[in-house]
């Protein structure tokens, strides 16, 4: 009896204790930890804890600064960064700064640069870049067609492209869909199957056929950071003329975008609100796909269902890009200089600042969400 009682008692205590442990762990597992990633000069990858807005760790990137373009593995534990003037790719375990991957894309006779274009396959096994190759002859350069290069991430520190497929010129940001197509952000938005090289048109931009009343768009994705809304945005600016005289003075100027849902690979293209000021980067509120935020000299909030600007907040200096917390409540505005400005997404008021060790210049601001 005593034993039984003791046993029961111990069992009760044990289960209580276990319950206590469970209750301590479970809420943390549900509140995934978000980290903000960016690169600063001279060449450091910073991992910022978004629960405290402090730098959790800083990883030295080998070589000179690239453009600070970052791609994440699907589980968000690894970040792939362009370095060495965008010629090389380095992979980091962001939990401990270990360098797990390296691809040198250029050789003695071929110069290869990647203009922002870096992404990881849906299953996390392959890394994709768009390479812009130039053959270096003795007394001149020869321009080669750009190509999608496929690397096996498992190849580690001396990875070479295992497959390549020709693609268009002028491709910047790329992203992988759930179907493992790679969205190619160039003059038009296209998608390539990285197993066959087959390319399909996703959204016509440079080749849109909208007649003489619409100015061909200036589409450019230097930063497309849609991980919180699982999307890819190619912003553009255009003008709608009053008549075929194409008078720029009387034209209506518009911001527009092609936005790809990375879960389905489907895109929508639309004018989103009047062009009243310059915006370098857009993101969508993960809670409402009609709400967009933009950054540059201003932080702005827009409702694209009404095609209007809701709020504009003057910034202390220029910020090239921005990102948002998973709950949609907090905006992180960065790039250009050495501080990330933190804002409330309802009011756009500044609520904090994160000082870094160097200038971000053109670097991405990406959010890695690590699930325990």
């Amino acid at each position: 009896m005593k034993l039984n009682n003791t046993f029961k008692s111990a069992g009760l205590t044990g289960s209580l204790a276990l319950g206590g442990i469970l209750s301590a762990v479970a809420p943390a597992a549900m509140a995934d930890q978000e980290y903000l990633l960016t690169v600063t000069r001279p060449n450091q990858l910073h991992v910022v804890d978004m629960s405290t807005n402090t730098i959790a760790r800083t990883c030295d990137i080998p070589g000179p600064f690239g453009t600070g373009s970052i791609a994440l593995s699907p589980d968000n534990t690894h970040a792939y960064v362009l370095s060495n003037g965008t010629k090389d790719v380095y992979g980091f375990d962001i939990r401990n700064c270990e360098i797990t991957f390296k691809a040198e894309q250029s050789s003695r006779t071929e110069q290869v640069i990647t203009m922002q274009s870096i992404t990881v396959s849906a299953d996390g096994t392959e890394l994709y870049t768009v390479q812009n190759p130039i053959t270096k002859l003795r007394d001149r350069y020869e321009v080669k067609q750009p190509r999608l290069a496929v690397f096996n991430i498992a190849d580690g520190m001396n990875a070479k492209a295992v497959r390549t497929y020709p693609v268009d010129r002028r491709i910047t940001k790329i992203a992988t869909t759930a179907q493992n197509e790679v969205i190619l952000g160039g003059g038009d938005l296209k998608a390539i199957n990285p197993r066959t090289g087959e390319i399909r048109m996703v959204s016509k931009l440079a080749s849109w056929e909208r007649g003489p009343l619409w100015l061909p768009p200036d589409a450019f994705a230097m930063h497309s950071q849609g991980e919180q809304a699982n999307e890819y945005i190619m912003p553009y600016s255009t003008a709608k003329f009053t008549d075929e005289s194409m008078d720029m003075e009387t034209a209506e100027w518009w911001w527009g975008m092609s936005r790809v849902d990375l879960a389905t690979g489907q895109a929508e293209r639309m004018e989103i609100f009047p062009f009243e000021f310059v915006i370098f980067n857009f993101i969508t509120d993960p809670r409402d796909s009609n709400i967009l935020y933009g950054s540059f000299n201003t932080l702005s909030k827009h409702d694209i269902s009404q095609k209007k600007t809701l709020l504009v907040h003057e910034m202390e200096h220029s910020y090239y890009d921005l990102n948002i917390s998973g709950d949609g409540k907090t905006l992180y505005v960065g790039g250009t200089s050495s501080d990330i400005s933190v804002h409330d997404s309802d009011t756009l008021e500044k609520i904090g600042s994160i000082q870094l060790t160097g200038d971000m210049s053109t670097s991405d601001l990406r959010v890695a969400t690590i699930k325990d």
Binding site: I134, K136, R140, Y141, R169, P216, D218, A219, F220, N297
Partner: protein, 534 residues
Amino acid sequence: MALSNNNSKRATLGLGAIAVAGLVSTPLLAQDAHQLIRDNCVGCHTESGTTAAPSFSRISEQRKSPEGWLMTINRMTHLRGLELTSEDKRALVKVLADRQGLAPEETEGYRYLLEQNTNIIESGINQGLTETCGRCHSEARFALQRRSEDEWKYLVNFHMGQFPSTEFHSMSRDRPWYQIAFNETAVELGQRFPLHSKEWSNWQAAARNDLMGRWRVTGFVPGKGEFAGWMSAAKTAEGRYDVTLTGRYADGAALAGEGKATLYTGYEWRAGLTIDGVKMRQVMAANEQGTALDGRMFLAAEREIGGDMRAVRDQGKTELVAIQPAYLRAGESTELTLIGQNLAGDIDLGDGVVVEKVLSRNADRITLQARAEGAEGVRMARVGTSKQLSALTVYNTLARVEVLPTDAVTRIGGAGGNMPKVRAAYRAVGYSVGADGKPGTEDDLRLGYMPASWSIKPADEVAAHEKDDRYAGSIDASGIFTPGDAGLNPERKRSANNVGRLKVVASVADGDARVEGEGNMLVSVQDFVRRVLD
């Protein structure tokens, strides 16, 4: 305006004429020139053709200015590992500019770039070239080159290799930039600016003038004023001269300097002189006869600060070179200075202009008091048997003032940064209304440079709100604008640096009245690349 003034003051450089003055020089022997290229360039550039008439890949397919060749050789040393003694570098630039240069006509309309007089809005060759090349370069930069079509294509590829972001810039990412540049622009450039031209073959066949001798010079140095003097060129080697310059500024202050000059391509005068302790550079072009040089002299360290310069060879004959000032308000007694050489004989200032009194007179300079009557207009002045007539403009009322440069870019700098400030030097040009009685029309009578008092103001309401006139810089009494310090300014919105948009205002006296003119200035950020030619 600046552009057309710049063009119109140049005499047309004709072709095929026999040199009438100076010695006919012999260029470096062809085999020596080839050997110099062989010794330094064939590590990368392939030689073909015959020993007597070799061709070097890429090199032989281009012609350009001395500065153009200097830039090429600088690039080879900075980016391609070429090691070159300074002696060989000088020799190579000379050989290439002499043998693969530009004919005088081929530089017409674009000499402002060679003269480093770049505060000019270019007129635009055409929209395609402006968008493809002119969005980064001055148009003169490519218009002062001649290449085969293939070579223009290689130049497009060079841009793609050296500056891979070229096709991603605004005004290139919205179009198939590389395909347009390679397949269309390079072809157009090959037709418009071809390797082989009649002008160049004629110029190669023409006899070369030697420029040694004595030259009567006039010019303008910002902060010092107009000057007149004598320059002598003593030949030290083929196309090389020792140069001395003496004279005085309009206020009587003396000027003296010496240095060295090189004559490229038979007419391109490039000199470096130290004048009263300041290093200056001269970029001038000789006329067809080798009797006059026209161009600009500027600070070696600050090429924006300079002024027009002209030199007229002393041929032992009476020549009137300039009148300072070259305008005369009707009914007023005015002191004029006649600059020339061998100034013997009667002074004739044209219809209705009376010499009231000769204040001083010698063989190269006459100061007098003159008074004009009669209608507004240009009078042609003469001394004795001078063939060259000098214009003297009589006017009644100063109708408007033009500020030069009309549009200027200056740059913040200094303050411990790597780049010095880029200043601008201003001058005011007066006009009367001309025959139609209306100012601002084509027939306005250009009177010449006039003394002015200088000020700045914000360009518009936005600039006023940003207090650009307070932060962006200041202008001194001589019309030299100095921009603000580099770096963030916490006093300004978004901690902006001291950039700004300004109007530069010249106020010129006209009797008891004052007439104002305005120029536009952008005070911009530092330009971290310093090019030989922009």
